[in-house]
């Protein structure tokens, strides 16, 4: 990477302009890590297949603060998830939370939405201090440290105890790469109190034709008996690259359900970490990548079972066409205390082209004896028998293939429990598959 000096200057400037005591400390520590380790390279085991440092042959810069223009508003309109009138719609512009573009529709008794800096100056200070930056102890690489070095303009969400939030939170990330190669680094901390229920979806859009790199970190704490659904929809341009970490800490008997859907994009790396910090949790992780062109999507999941009696199930599916690349790496750790862990993992893939590639790798690290763990991985083609059957009824080959791809995707789409979002993604997938 070429512009170390740029980041140094920006770092010093930020430390001066936003001298928040808590943040300056976290930033400093992480900027040291970043300076020491630089960006991940293929030599690092966890980054073996995803060469993000190659993207940084271009000089990425942070975007300056921007006026809200009709252009921005109409771009926002393009990725809005319709069908849920009272959804809370939060917008990040170039990696910074924008209260003025956002619409919080739930009352404060159900949902607290604050800029991260304001949260630090409020009664939530202790919570933020305790939980912000927890992901750094799991992911120590330079790109994660780069996000943390520049925490500024972040978002804090708090769901009070027992609140069954009726209306979901949608987060839209807009990055403007109209004038320059833009680096956006969204940061958020979400605290879901005991017995609360919370549904969240995120999606991304890049404007303009320069390259955009989104480097996002989101930390979610799920307290006892709380329930969280988390959805990520990635359908951005080929110039839109992304590394993101979603770091979820589960307390006793909590329930987490996630779906990551990747369609179009450039080079994308998704880290999804689940830390079982108490017993009796239930976790369901689903992924679906339908890739073509040169899109590269690398899904890394990590479940750290530290305490007993946790159940987790993962199903990641992908289809790779053209010269696309799909990677799944699922790591399951079962610590000595985590007896009676049940952890299942399965990755199913379809390779449609000789230029495409698929890598799927389970990593089981089991240090307890009374556990049930399994993993499975398949890479195949579309079912020839099924294709023949459909064609023998007069359905042309290309359409028959699309039908089978929809069928392949269906059980993951079914896992999107938020109905308007499910409709939205069905439409995206339909358009995505019929364009080709």
């Amino acid at each position: 990477m070429t512009n170390v000096n740029y980041f140094k200057d920006q770092f010093s400037a930020l430390q001066t302009s936003d001298p928040n005591e808590l943040l300056t400390g976290i930033r400093k520590e992480n900027f040291d890590t970043f300076s020491r380790s630089g960006l991940p390279t293929l030599r690092q085991e966890e980054w073996k297949y995803t060469n993000i440092s190659s993207l940084f042959d271009k000089d990425y810069e942070f975007a300056a603060d921007q006026e809200i223009s009709p252009y921005l508003l109409s771009s926002l309109e393009e990725i809005r998830i319709n069908g849920h009138q009272n959804a809370n719609e939060l917008v990040f512009l170039n990696g910074r939370y924008s209260p003025s573009l956002s619409a919080v529709r739930s009352p404060e008794s159900q949902l607290v939405v604050l800029p991260l800096e304001e949260a630090i100056d409020s009664k939530y200070k202790a919570l933020v201090a305790m939980h912000l930056g927890q992901s750094s102890s799991y992911i120590k690489d330079g790109i994660h440290a780069l996000n943390t070095s520049f925490i500024h303009g972040g978002l804090f969400l708090y769901i009070p105890k027992g609140q069954q939030l009726l209306h979901p939170v949608y987060i839209y990330h807009l990055s403007d790469a109209g004038q320059q190669h833009t680096l956006s680094q969204p940061r958020s901390l979400i605290y879901v109190e005991a017995q609360a229920k919370f549904q969240l979806a995120e999606t991304y859009k890049t404007l303009g034709t320069c390259e955009s790199f989104t480097n996002e970190v989101m930390e979610i704490v799920v307290e006892a008996d709380a329930f969280v659904e988390y959805y990520k929809i990635q359908n951005d341009g080929p110039n839109a690259h992304q590394t993101n970490t979603t770091h979820i800490r589960q307390m006793e008997k909590s329930h987490v359900h996630t779906v990551v859907l990747s369609l179009n994009g450039g080079m994308v790396r998704n880290n999804l970490n689940l830390v079982m910090d108490a017993r009796g949790n239930e976790t369901h992780l689903y992924g679906l990548s339908l890739l073509r062109g040169k899109t590269h999507v690398d899904n890394h999941t990590m479940i750290d079972n530290k305490m007993p009696d946790c159940y987790s199930n993962q199903l990641y599916k992908s289809v790779a066409d053209d010269a696309s690349t799909s990677i799944f790496s699922g790591r399951i750790i079962v610590q000595p205390d985590a007896q009676k862990t049940n952890a299942y993992q399965s990755s199913k893939n379809i390779l449609l082209s000789e230029q495409a590639s698929i890598n799927a790798k389970p990593q089981l690290e089991i240090f307890a004896d009374d556990v049930k763990c399994s993993h499975g991985c398949t890479v195949g083609q579309l079912d020839e028998e099924a294709l023949y059957y459909l064609r023998a009824r007069g359905i042309p080959k290309e359409k028959a293939e699309v039908l089978l791809l929809h069928a392949f995707a269906a059980d993951i789409v079914d896992q999107i429990k938020l109905e308007p979002l499910q409709k939205y993604t069905e439409k995206l997938i339909y358009e995505h598959l019929t364009v080709s």
């Binding site: 079912d383 028998e385 099924a386 023949y388 059957y389 459909l390 064609r391 023998a392 009824r393 007069g394 359905i395 042309p396 080959k397 359409k399 028959a400 039908l403 089978l404 929809h406 069928a407 392949f408 269906a410 059980d411």
Partner: protein, 254 residues
């Protein structure tokens, strides 16, 4: 309607069909019988266009067109229908959507507008009654978890919906209980018209009691070794294949 001339076909380098000749005129019902492994399903697959089967010699005309030049889907849209011996299960694809797509693809091929939802539903209802199949099966994924008999009934339902010129029914009777056999056979009979031809592949006389064939052929080791009228089937039922195959095997050994 269908004219098969000296068809030879290989699968995985092995010759399975060794010179088949068969003429089917509009409205005729032909039955093909023959021991296991004689090549009956292979013949059906060659006609439907299955890609693993390589035709090395011969020609097939279907309504005057060179059938072997057509893609699988074009054969279907020209009006050829194969009811499979082992219908495949396709999880995730709804039977109704699939049949709608198939009906409309055929209409498109014929230069017709797609059916609107109301007309499609009306057609479905009518044909469902004809083959006595319930809505609950059709709202499930294609053949997924269907019993053997339900799968066969679904094949005949699709035949009813697609209104083919030529239907090849590969052991549609096997795996059916007595009532289901009667229902399926009645369905097929209702689909008989003066210009729709049917090629029945079967092991059992019982089906032919319901659907009276005009001709019966015996396929053995890749050739049609005997043809006759429906009385031939009765004779086979009584005597087995030996009385035909023995003389063939002997003459082959000479």
């Amino acid at each position: 309607m269908l004219s098969i001339k000296n068809i030879h076909a290989n699968v995985e380098g092995k010759e399975i069909l060794k010179g088949i000749n068969l003429e089917i005129k509009p409205g005729e019902v032909h039955a093909i019988m023959g021991p296991n492994g004689s090549g009956k399903s292979t013949l059906a697959s060659v006609l439907a266009g299955r890609e693993e089967y390589e035709v090395t010699e011969g020609e097939v005309l279907f309504s005057g067109k060179d059938l072997l030049e057509l893609s699988i889907e074009d054969r279907a849209r020209e009006g050829l229908f194969l009811a499979f011996q082992y219908p495949v299960e396709i999880p995730g694809v709804s039977t109704t959507n699939f049949i709608k797509a198939a009906v409309n693809e055929k209409r498109k091929y014929q230069g017709l507008e797609p059916l609107d939802a109301v007309s499609f539903l009306k057609m479905m209802k009518e044909k469902m009654a004809m083959v006595e199949i319930g809505q609950s099966l059709l709202s499930r994924s294609i053949n997924e978890g269907f019993s053997g008999g339900e799968k066969k009934r679904n094949e005949i339902f699709q035949m009813a919906m697609l209104e083919p010129k030529l239907a090849i029914l590969d052991e549609t009777d096997s795996g059916l209980d007595i009532d289901a056999l009667r229902i399926v056979a009645n369905g097929i009979n209702k689909l008989r018209t003066p210009d729709r031809s049917i090629l029945l592949i079967t092991h059992y006389q019982r089906l032919l009691d319901y659907i009276q064939p005009d001709y019966v052929h015996v396929l053995y080791k890749g050739r049609i070794v005997k043809s006759g009228t429906k009385e031939l089937a009765l004779e086979l039922e009584e005597k087995g294949y030996d009385f035909i195959t023995e003389s063939i095997d002997q003459s082959a050994n000479v």
